[in-house]
């Protein structure tokens, strides 16, 4: 009979409070940002300003949304993307407009990038009929299918196979489109990811799977929920891979463009780890005891929006006044959106039964 061992048994790695050095523990290690200048990347002054406007819009949209939530203007979950805007922006600028994008519930930034107006977005948060998903989805389910934004999904990892399926259809149709699927570091632990990676590699699907590693899955640091570097998963499937600094929009743009070109040419999947940081809590009710204020401040010092602004100013691409004009325009757009959402009607009662089936008069069990 085996001898009974004594001693300390533990399973999950320990988190905060266990570090000994006293140094700030970083949620993620950022790889170096690209050295390329905007001209090397083929980005015009107008494009840079558009990028700035897009990132600033996402930031202000969510800050206003948060205020409205706190005022009790709407309920449900509210997961903010603040801090991660360089990823949505760099990616959408790098892709063709008809390439497919699908993401998780932290989806507002993605929606705004793909043509959901501030009005439609805010109205969706408020659950109004004028929202992008007609008030049926709320914060977690922004979608704009006509712009190839397939929406935000609330079951962690659930949309990873779907991202593969979008790519499957593109390959089937030989339409030249590629599909991109974004998810959090927490989703990497789901079996769905591994099954999908195997099939995607085996069937050579034109897909880019991207983990937005913001260091935390709810209250659990990445090193407490997953082994090794996330990107290493790719090796097991013989999949091409890359790690990108997600706090720098140029780095995201440059690499995602390169990868998109490769996928379009060779029809083979990639797994990309973009490292980033979320400034706010997981959702609105998160005391954030799992991380330090110092850590948060380290990342806020390298804020992606400030970084682009500094670049634009230092390289004389636009004057301060021009950027201020953009900011004022965005500010107004977002304030108008709040008013629009507030003044919009709720869906009509009969809409409860709409959108379940394609038929006009489907069967409902009673």
């Amino acid at each position: 009979m085996a001898k009974k061992k004594s001693g300390n048994v533990e399973f999950a790695p320990r988190g905060i409070g266990d570090e000994k050095s006293g140094a700030v523990q970083k949620g993620v290690d950022l790889p170096a940002a690209t050295k390329s200048k905007h001209k090397d990347l083929g980005l015009s002054a107008a494009k840079l300003k558009a990028m700035y406007e897009q990132m600033y819009l996402q930031r202000r949209f969510e800050e206003r949304a948060m205020q409205q939530y706190q005022k009790g203007k709407f309920g449900g979950f509210l997961h903010l993307y603040i801090g991660q805007e360089a990823i949505s922006t760099g990616t959408t600028f790098a892709l063709n407009d008809d390439d497919d994008i699908i993401t998780a519930y932290r989806d507002h930034g993605w929606g705004l990038c793909r043509g959901i107006s501030a009005n439609e977005g805010m109205a969706e948060l408020f659950g109004k009929a004028t929202g992008c998903s007609r008030g049926k989805g709320g914060s977690m389910h922004f979608a704009k299918a006509e712009n190839h934004f397939w929406g935000g999904y609330g079951i962690v990892g659930g949309h990873i196979p779907i991202g593969g399926g979008l790519a499957f259809a593109n390959k089937y149709e030989q339409n030249g489109r590629i599909s991109t699927c974004f998810f959090g570091d927490g989703a990497v632990d789901q079996g769905a990811l591994h099954e999908t990676f195997n099939i995607a590699q085996l069937w050579k699907l034109p897909a880019i799977f991207v983990v937005e590693n913001n260091g935390y899955s709810m209250g659990t640091a990445a090193r407490r929920h997953t082994v090794a570097d996330i990107v290493d998963r790719a090796d097991g499937y013989g999949m091409k891979s890359a790690v990108i600094n997600g706090m720098d929009v140029f780095s995201v743009y440059e690499k995602m463009k390169e990868i998109a070109d490769d996928v379009r040419k060779n029809s083979e999947p990639w797994f990309v780890e973009i490292r980033t940081y979320r400034y706010r809590g997981h959702s609105m009710s998160d005391p954030q005891k799992y991380r330090t204020k110092e850590e948060l401040e380290e990342y806020q010092k390298i804020d992606p929006i400030e970084r682009l602004k500094t670049y634009i100013l230092e390289n004389d691409i636009a004057k301060e006044a021009a950027l201020e004009k953009i900011e004022e325009k965005v500010e107004q757009e977002v304030l108008d959106a709040v008013e629009f959402a507030d003044n919009s009607d709720f869906p009509k009662d009969e809409e409860l039964y709409e959108d379940m089936f394609v038929e006009d008069n489907p069967y409902f069990h009673t």
Binding site: M140, R224, T366
Partner: protein, 327 residues
């Protein structure tokens, strides 16, 4: 009697069973260092340490199955799901493995495991976070299913569930965790699985309601009492095994029944209880049995649609008026 919040009653049950039996352990997302997404495991890490209170990755299929294997191999895991809406990913382990392993090995292997967490809707959380799963699991042989409505029931039944040598699903609600109620301070307070409770006595109509729906039934009964209609409320507490004799006894007295169920209408608890009543008490019925359920539609986000979607006191009152021919 002590007044406890629902979450405190659950925590107390787990705590007592962990203290009593070293084989009992808890695992799930955010159960340890975060003290539980809904604080039902608050303080347990400090008390029992990293060996027995374990944070898991978001790998429902994986950790549910690890729980099943550990249970087969002699431990008594309590596997927490952040909600049963996410347990769908673990359904293979619950349905194909935990529920069947004893039978298909000719009785050689027991699987004493508790799967627990909040069930059903918790407000405007949208289509994927709002489904009631108790009836679905009750469909499968080999599983016991509990969905309680009050802290006292929760404490006594969770302790029973942890001691049970079979797989048990124990369901709670995000919206009830803060609810306070008197909880017996009897030492080692146990409520047997499969026993319902008459929670309000009345002569005219039987309301069968469990989980969050019980509280809707209470509100409706108060309204109806103002009108002189006295409802008897039966909380089955355990969905399976179902305390059918208790329900039938009540029907024999009231001759009328309305069933409340937080699930969609097709094939849910309401359908099952309705069938059983006609089989066992057909001659006693003075009106067809009615039910109040969710509609056959996904959960909408918009506040107004959500309120329309969710069962209301008015629907219960209307159903009672129907079975008492008062409309």
């Amino acid at each position: 009697m002590a007044e406890l919040q629902f979450r405190e009653a659950i925590k107390a049950a787990i705590d007592e069973e962990m203290a009593r039996d070293e084989k009992v352990l808890v695992m799930g997302e955010e159960v340890a260092e975060y003290n539980g997404a809904y604080k039902t495991t608050e303080g347990l890490l400090d008390k029992y340490g990293y060996k027995r209170v374990i944070d898991t990755p978001i790998s429902e299929l994986g950790f549910a199955g690890i729980g099943v294997g550990a249970a087969m191999n002699g431990l008594r895991p309590i596997v927490e799901f952040m909600t049963f809406n996410f347990a769908v990913l673990a359904a293979d382990q619950i349905i194909n493995h935990a529920s069947k392993v004893k039978y298909m090995t000719g009785g050689q292997i027991d699987c004493p495991i508790v799967f627990r967490g909040p069930n059903a809707s918790a407000g405007q959380l949208g289509a994927t976070h709002s489904v009631a799963y108790d009836s679905m699991y009750a469909h499968f042989p080999g599983l016991k299913v509990i969905y309680t409505s009050e802290p006292d029931d929760a404490k006594g039944l969770l302790k029973s569930a942890i001691r049970d040598d079979n797989p048990v699903l124990f369901m709670e609600s995000e919206q009830m965790y803060g609810l306070k109620g008197e909880v017996s301070d009897e030492e080692d307070y146990i409520i047997p699985i499969g026993k319902g409770k008459i929670k309000r006595e009345g002569e005219q109509v039987t309301l069968v309601a469990h989980g969050k729906m019980y509280h809707l039934a209470v509100q409706a009964a108060k309204e109806l009492a103002k009108d002189g209609v006295e409802c008897e409320i039966i909380d089955p507490r355990t969905v399976k095994p179902l305390d059918l004799p208790l329900i039938i006894e009540s029907i024999k007295k009231t001759n009328r029944c309305v069933i409340l169920d937080e699930a969609h209408p097709f094939g849910g608890l309401a359908a099952e209880v309705g069938f059983l009543i006609q089989r066992e008490a057909f001659d006693y019925l003075d009106a067809p049995v009615q039910r109040v359920t969710l509609p056959d539609v996904c959960a909408p986000f918009a506040k107004n649609l959500f309120d329309l979607w969710y069962p209301s006191v008015k629907q219960v009152v209307d159903a009672v008026n129907q079975v008492t021919y008062r409309n």
